[in-house]
């Protein structure tokens, strides 16, 4: 029998199909505005491409800020639980999990057995999440996929004065007018978000191993800045954006 985990995030929907603890199929799409419809069609698409019939699925568990959109799921669990479950099952040595997605940053501390000891969320302000980088990417005309790479080429430290995503956009524009190189601005932006995540993580406390999950784990420049901020190494989860969906799928196994 198959188990399905659905993570309906602010920006993307991620779905995994699992069997005996292994990921059989996974896919993602934009949440868009018809989130319900998109969730269902992504689910059907995955089953179809993996040649699985709906009756072979024993359990569907939803998570993520838009989990209600997965109305056909039998259970739902919180984002914190899903992140912790997913990360500790794949990386049993994990004591700290940092999850940075489009609209939310989380820092979770676990004991050695995957039980959550403490956590902090940075939500409701775009300044501490991927949305910040995305806004700046728009101003810089730089696709987010290239943000990390480009920022790695810079060794300048330009502090960003603006904290808010809206004001920072104007600051980026004036930096561009002042002929600051794109790579230096990209680094400044990554550094700014990393410093917010660092302070949140320090607040809950952290312990090795630290696993980074969520879409921002793909931004190498951000990862580097985060390592520097925490003064320690970080394990980058493989397919970081799917970890919470995996956590949902295997929850209560």
């Amino acid at each position: 029998m198959y188990k399905v985990g659905i993570d309906v995030g602010a920006k993307n929907i991620k779905i995994v199909v699992m069997k005996d603890g292994e990921v059989i199929a996974k896919d993602q799409c934009l949440a868009g505005f018809e989130t319900k419809e998109n969730t269902l069609s992504l689910y059907q698409k995955i089953l179809e491409s993996a040649n699985i019939s709906e009756s072979d699925v024993s359990k569907i568990t939803a998570t993520g800020s838009g989990k209600k959109a997965a109305y056909f799921a039998q259970n739902s669990i919180t984002e914190v639980t899903a992140a912790a479950k997913g990360a500790t099952s794949l990386y049993p040595s994990a004591h700290s999990i940092i999850d940075v997605g489009a609209e939310e940053g989380k820092s979770i501390r676990c004991d050695g057995n995957g039980k959550i000891v403490d956590f902090a969320l940075n939500e409701k302000c775009a300044a501490g999440a991927g949305a910040f980088i995305e806004s700046m990417g728009r101003a810089l005309e730089l696709p987010i996929e290239q943000f990390g790479e480009l920022s790695m080429q810079s060794d300048k430290e330009i502090p960003m004065n603006a904290q808010c995503a809206v004001f920072a956009e104007s600051e980026v524009v004036s930096l561009m007018h002042a002929k600051t190189e794109k790579k230096d601005i990209a680094k400044a932006v990554n550094d700014a978000v990393a410093s917010r995540i660092t302070s949140m993580t320090r607040k809950v406390g952290f312990e090795k191993d630290i696993v980074l999950i969520g879409g921002m784990a793909k931004n190498t420049g951000f990862v580097q800045a985060l390592k520097k901020g925490l003064e320690t190494d970080i394990i980058l989860a493989k397919d970081p954006e799917y970890i919470s969906a995996i956590g949902a799928a295997i929850y209560n196994d």
Partner: protein, 287 residues
């Protein structure tokens, strides 16, 4: 930012019946804001001339220009002014200022003269910040807070929104009342998230005006929560760019149940006026 925010009218004014050469002390105040700059000249503490214009990219130039414009046609020159105080976000860029003072102090002092000494609470909503000030009958600050970190509750936030809906910023207030019933406020405070939320509402088939109403009331609600931190006591006045947005102003008044006071002066000059009043006190004190 290339785009302008509120369509400020630029203007100057001078008194017809004050003879500035009568030996009374002449002081000036210049308020260099992020969007507009004002200059005020007082003769013996009485309003003699003022001007208001957009702040250019060069703040020191804007300070000089606004003062020159206030003095235009008066026969007075900068040399005749004994003491000048600079205030506002660009206050360090007033080259001829004898001293700089925060806009919080200047606003309170200016409002005290403009609206009368019964003013106890001032809300100033500018392009990039929001200030809530309590003061006593002398215009002395007794409690204040300022928010320039977050764009929510500032003119900039409103601008982002007007942009998203392609509505001229000066029409936002009026349009927000063209709804059959008041919708619930947009739930996200953050401008970035509120934008996403609004796009969703439009897709759901909401009329533009309804979305605007939802945002105006969210903004009013947010500003009221700032006011609650310092407490509101009447008389209550609203100054700054958003004072011109009835959609927000009326919703604030409704939520706190206190009407705002009107003035014969332009509410824009409160900061510069306060600065000029301080200039007079400081000059007399020999500071």
């Amino acid at each position: 930012m290339a785009k302008e925010f509120w369509r400020w009218k630029e203007y100057n004014w001078k008194s017809e019946n004050i003879n500035w050469n009568n030996g009374a002390i002449i002081t000036g105040g210049v308020d260099v804001g992020s969007v507009s700059s004002q200059a005020v000249v007082l003769v013996g503490g009485e309003l003699f001339a003022y001007s208001s214009m957009r702040t250019g990219s060069d703040s020191p130039m804007s300070a000089v220009n606004s003062m020159n414009w206030a003095l235009e046609g008066t026969g007075m020159t900068l040399e005749n002014i004994k003491y000048v105080v600079g205030t506002g976000y660009g206050r360090v860029n007033v080259p001829f200022a004898n001293k700089t003072i925060t806009e919080i102090a200047c606003h309170a002092r200016g409002a005290n003269l403009m609206y009368g000494n019964s003013v106890r609470t001032i809300l100033d909503m500018g392009g990039q910040d929001c200030k809530a000030i309590r003061c006593d009958e002398k215009g002395k600050v007794t409690n204040f807070l300022m928010n320039d970190k977050c764009a929510a509750g500032t003119g900039r936030g409103m601008e982002v929104f007007a942009d998203l809906l392609s509505v001229p910023i000066e029409d936002v207030g009026e349009l927000s009342f063209y709804v059959e019933e008041e919708p619930p406020p947009v739930s996200s405070t953050c401008v970035v998230f509120a934008k996403t939320e609004a796009t969703g509402l439009l897709r759901e088939g909401w009329h533009k005006n309804k979305v605007i109403a939802a945002y105006c009331s969210a903004m009013a609600h947010r500003v009221v929560s700032l006011l609650e931190r310092i407490g509101v006591e009447d008389d209550f006045v609203i100054t700054g760019g958003i004072a011109k947005n009835v959609g927000v102003v009326r919703r604030i008044a409704k939520e706190i149940g206190i009407k705002t006071l009107e003035t014969e002066y332009d509410s824009q000059i409160a900061g510069a006026l306060g600065a000029a009043l301080f200039a007079r006190s400081l000059a007399e004190k020999g500071k």
